[in-house]
Symmetry: C2
Subunit: 193 residues, 2 copies
DNA sequence: CGATTTTTTGAATCATATCAACGTACGTGG
DNA sequence: CCACGTACGTTGATATGATTCAAAAAATCG
């Protein structure tokens, strides 16, 4: 029985058995407990993480101490500080498990080797990054012209389970608003008109 | 003499002569006049454009008629509606030349063929998309915690020539503020203290 | 169960948007 | 090449929406 990770790759490209073996050899499974950190700001991001189970978030801290949440990663998603991973520079993101989670880790060396030796893996990675880019661009476009209410509703539509899994203040930090404002948004939406 | 485009690829990966020939065979050079459109919302984005000379912008229109500028692309940059290009769905972006420009176009078919037959091209594209993703993420992170003044200053620092090449209202549309606000920002920054 | 964190609610404040008017620059046709 | 018209930038007054600060209510954790 292959890991979810291999299955996931196989939905995008058709791996040969040899390729599956090669990838298997270069991945590491890791469990991480709720509230524990996969990555802390200032450290180098040595691995990309594929989420097999659980939920994590990446965020940055500002002067005032506020958090801005960059991404929630649930089952089937990747999370990492990509710039740090690729460049070896210190990470600017913190990545924390919101729930007990199971990850598949890939080191830079393993990633480089697979990109070179496994054409299907390179094709897969190109797809992953392209999709991530398009998703980020969509999120970006929504900001200037949607009201806060609409942005919250969009988020709910895209990730209906999110409010059950993460505290409200984190959703506020993701939307870039204060928890007080989000509370008022929810109140408004409950009693429309 | 190779085109700027080939030179650009060669700074990232080392192409063989055969690869150069193959790429040359699949690209099209195109000039586009100021104020003309490379792509209009609703049309399918049939080409990616590499800017050899000039300056373009991609933007979306909102209900109220306001524009939100997604990207300025100058010499050495790519511009396209990537989602439309890859999926064949109608584009959500308009792409307009701000100056008379010279582009290198690549069709989807040519892109697919090169990804398959030219490993260095795939490596190159992975780098391009990865860099675009990281750049977008950086821009995204700046929004919630920087003031409008800081965001304008950052933009100037990154692209000092931009104000000389694009009207102020477009810079406002890029920053997601009104032209009036940008005018006041500039006034504030001129008379510090 | 008590302690701590999270969410809600209210009031005051601040930044940007909006509306409107004016001056300036620009390009376009005569 | 000039003059006119249109678009662009600036400035002011007002409105709007989110933030901030404060405190109470609710939920969560050990």
């Amino acid at each position: 029985m292959n890991s979810t990770y291999i299955q996931h790759i196989n939905t995008k490209v058709k791996l040969t058995e040899a390729e599956v073996d090669l990838i298997q050899k270069h991945i590491v499974h890791k469990k991480i407990r709720k509230k524990h950190y996969f990555l802390q700001e200032g450290d180098v991001c040595k691995y990309t993480a594929f989420v097999e189970k659980g939920l994590l978030r990446s965020y940055t801290l500002h002067n005032n101490g506020n958090e801005h949440i960059v991404q929630f990663a649930m089952e089937g998603w990747f999370i990492a500080d990509l710039y740090s991973f690729l460049s070896g520079e210190p990470a600017v993101y913190n990545i924390e498990a919101i729930e007990d989670s199971e990850l598949v880790l890939m080191s830079k060396a393993a990633n480089d080797l697979l990109l070179q030796q496994c054409p299907n893996y390179q094709t897969f990675m190109l797809q992953v990054i392209t999709n991530a880019y398009i998703a980020l661009q969509k999120r970006f476009n929504a900001i200037p012209h949607l009201t806060v209410d609409e942005r919250y509703q969009n988020l709910l539509q895209q990730y209906p389970t999110l409010p059950k899994r993460v505290p409200q203040r984190m959703i506020a930090a993701y939307l870039g608003i204060t928890p007080e404002t989000l509370s008022r948004v929810r109140k408004r939406l409950q009693q429309p008109k």
